[in-house]
């Protein structure tokens, strides 16, 4: 498929989407401090171009799966952000009725398959989603995301091998934000060019500047096309950066403020906004309108989540088995 032109509409959508994701995450951070969101909370700030570029390459029916930095992906795919916020606050109107929380977002309707808490555990699942589509003769592609830490897990390597052996329609995306929690990439292996892990499996593989949604999109479109046309998997190392700590409880002693500041100069939202301004895609007023819309929607999410009740105690026993009368031990 020829590359889609990066039009004014694309830039404006990217700007609004990415800004919303950023503001949404910022709000969850504030709610966490207020203890309205509990547990672990991993924010996507800084990595938005990976998602924005990917979404442009996806077609209806294509699937996405990732690890636990996963609040905004289902929103990008079309899930109601109010329900994501409700899930974060443990409310019954959340996507998992308050049973999943921050690390376990799902939206089957919008082809988002989680939301997974065990590093690397989702990698074979992504290949499995693709396996089923291929088995059923469906022309869909599964985008399987992981962090740079996950590539040191055995699940990654077993899945690389099987996905090539069975020529599965899957794209593996390593979101390399430089750190597996507090452990930098150079401290996890004898090399830092993660994309080269694909070479051993003879899988097409490449690094991509993932602070810019355009470069992400271009690499992703090639990979998605390859998978859809029967050419099998691709491994993309998306070089990105997270502005926040690994989770909310991260003092970030492993990196300097100067390093974070350097990457903030490459902020994907700023990059997109600058191009909008350079090309006169929007007036200052129109940009302000977008900013206001984003602000309003974030507020709407919080209001919705605040208004939603916590689940009844009986909800604990729901959705463990499809079998309706499963005899749980209650004595």
């Amino acid at each position: 498929m020829p590359k889609k032109p990066i039009t004014k509409e694309v830039y404006l959508k990217w700007y609004e989407d990415m800004l919303f994701w950023r503001r949404f995450e910022d709000k969850t951070s504030a709610l966490y401090i207020q203890q309205k969101i509990r547990g672990f909370l991993h924010l996507y700030n800084g990595q938005e171009a990976v998602l924005a570029g990917s979404l442009l390459a996806m077609e209806h029916g294509d699937k996405m799966i990732t690890a636990y930095r996963n609040h905004v992906q289902p929103i990008g795919l079309g899930e109601d952000p109010r329900r994501i916020m409700a899930e974060l606050m443990g409310k019954v109107d959340g996507t998992s009725r308050g049973k999943g929380g921050s690390m376990h977002m799902f939206s089957k309707e919008h082809h988002f398959y989680g939301g997974h808490g065990i590093v690397g555990g989702q990698i074979p699942l992504g290949a499995g989603l693709a396996f089923a589509d291929k088995y059923n003769g469906k022309n869909h592609v599964t985008l399987t995301y992981m962090g740079d830490g996950a590539v040191r897990q055995g699940s990654f390597h077993e899945t690389m091998n099987l996905a090539m052996l069975w020529n599965l329609p899957v794209v593996f995306v390593i979101e390399n934000n430089g750190y597996a929690m507090g452990t930098s990439v150079e401290r996890t292996a004898n090399h830092t060019e993660i994309w080269k892990l694909g070479l051993g499996y003879e899988m097409p593989c490449l690094p991509v500047d993932a602070m810019d949604p355009v470069t992400v999109y271009e690499a992703m479109q090639d990979a998605v096309d390859r998978a859809r046309s029967g050419g099998g998997p691709t491994l993309i190392e998306a070089r990105t950066y997270r502005y926040k700590g690994h989770s909310m409880s991260d003092a970030q002693h492993y990196r300097t403020k100067e390093e974070v500041a350097e990457y903030q100069k490459l902020d994907p939202i700023t990059i997109v906004l600058d191009r909008i301004k350079e090309n006169n895609y929007a007036t200052e007023e129109e940009i302000e309108t977008i900013d206001q819309r984003v602000k309003d929607l974030v507020k709407e999410c919080v209001d919705f989540a605040e208004a939603s009740p916590f689940p009844d105690k009986e909800e604990l026993w729901q959705h463990i088995y499809v079998q309706k009368d499963y005899p749980f031990i209650k004595e």
Binding site: K63, I65, G94, T95, S96, R97, G98, K99, G100, H104, F106, S107, K108, E109, Y113, G114, G115, H116, G117, I118, G121, I123, P124, L125, G126, A127, G128, L129, A130, F131, A132, D133, Y135, N136, G154, S155, E158, T159, N161, L162, L165, Q318, H319, I320, Y321, V322, Q323, Y326, P327, F328, E331
Partner: protein, 326 residues
């Protein structure tokens, strides 16, 4: 009635369900071209082809996880582990993904998958190849765990497992695949979670499951010569457990011995003992006694594996103890 081997019953169950439902496939090491490490999938590659009977490299974590993903996307995989000893490298996918997906997604994504293969010891295979993990898996909400002990149950329970909308582990035994038993020609399904009284008796209830049930039967037959009447219950499912059948029997016999091929701590026998004291305390004429494996890794030497495993002699001793016959 027709007599067939346990492995043939397994093969029939899988084949019938694959004929019935295109979404069912079999995946595992040596399942296709080799016809199964224990010939439980003999002829299936010829009938169903490589799309649905799929050999894998030795990568349990990888192919178990891929099959969980496939189940999330509408297929109904049967994953064979050459033994459940090897499922340990795939256990993250079973416990964290297969068992939890329906709950974590708030009911959006269920995982209709079967993990099957032999469990526990199979001769002098030493520590890593002789382990029984039924109680480990049974401990985990979200899973169902069945342990057939004869060809009839193997077929009926496996067919039920394949049709189940929840993840089911079907734990067999290398030492049962050659066992023969009555299996009707016509189709049948055995409901998961129902124990079966396989021998009627009045003096003591013996509860067991899986291959080691043979030891319980051997003990019961030996004691019959002395006029001791043993009721033998095959649990058939260790998650869920059919407590009612056990409690009913214990209320009748007032004595219970549990025979389990597994380590004693946190075992199925521990769980049964709790429930018996809770629900039949006033009916017990003796403490419940269990016969488990030794609280050690299995060892290779014939004298050591004999010491490790439950035996008819050990079970007879336990029965005599609950009858105060020694």
């Amino acid at each position: 009635m027709r007599i067939i081997q346990f492995r043939e019953a397994v093969c029939e169950a899988m084949s019938e369900e694959m004929r019935r439902d295109e979404r069912v496939y079999l995946m595992g090491e040596e399942v296709a071209e080799y016809n199964g490490a224990y010939k439980a999938s003999k002829g299936m590659l010829d009938e169903f082809g490589p799309k649905r009977v799929i050999d894998t490299p030795i990568a349990e974590l990888g192919f178990a996880g891929i099959s969980v993903g496939a189940a999330m996307n509408g297929l109904r995989p049967i994953v064979e582990f050459m033994t459940f000893n090897f499922s340990m490298v795939a256990i993250d996918q079973i416990i964290n993904n297969a068992a939890k997906m329906y709950q974590m997604s708030g009911g959006q994504l269920n995982v209709p998958i079967v993990f099957r293969g032999p469990t526990a010891s199979a001769g002098q295979l030493a520590a890593t190849h002789s382990q029984a993990f039924e109680s480990w898996y049974a401990n985990c909400p979200g899973l169902k765990v069945v342990v057939p002990a004869d060809p009839y149950d193997a077929k009926g329970l496996l067919k039920a497992a394949i049709r189940d909308e929840d993840p089911v582990l079907v734990m067999e035994s290398e030492q049962m695949y050659g066992d023969k038993g009555e299996v009707p020609e016509e189709e049948y399904i055995i409901e998961i979670g129902k124990a079966k009284v396989k021998r009627q008796g009045t003096d003591v209830t013996i509860v067991s499951f899986g291959k080691i049930l043979k030891v319980a039967f051997a003990a019961a037959e030996e004691l019959e010569k002395e006029g001791i009447s043993c009721e033998v219950i095959d649990l058939r499912s260790v998650r869920p457990i059919d407590y009612d059948t056990i409690i009913k029997s214990v209320k009748k016999t007032n004595r219970c011995v549990i025979v389990e091929e597994a380590w004693p701590l946190g075992a199925i026998s521990s769980e049964l003992t709790y429930m018996i004291q809770k629900r039949a305390f006033d009916y017990l004429d003796a403490p419940v006694i269990r016969v488990n494996t030794a609280d050690t890794p299995a060892a290779y030497s014939p004298t050591l594996i004999e010491e490790f495993l439950p035996s008819p002699e050990k079970v007879i001793k336990a029965i005599r103890a609950v009858l105060y016959k020694d």
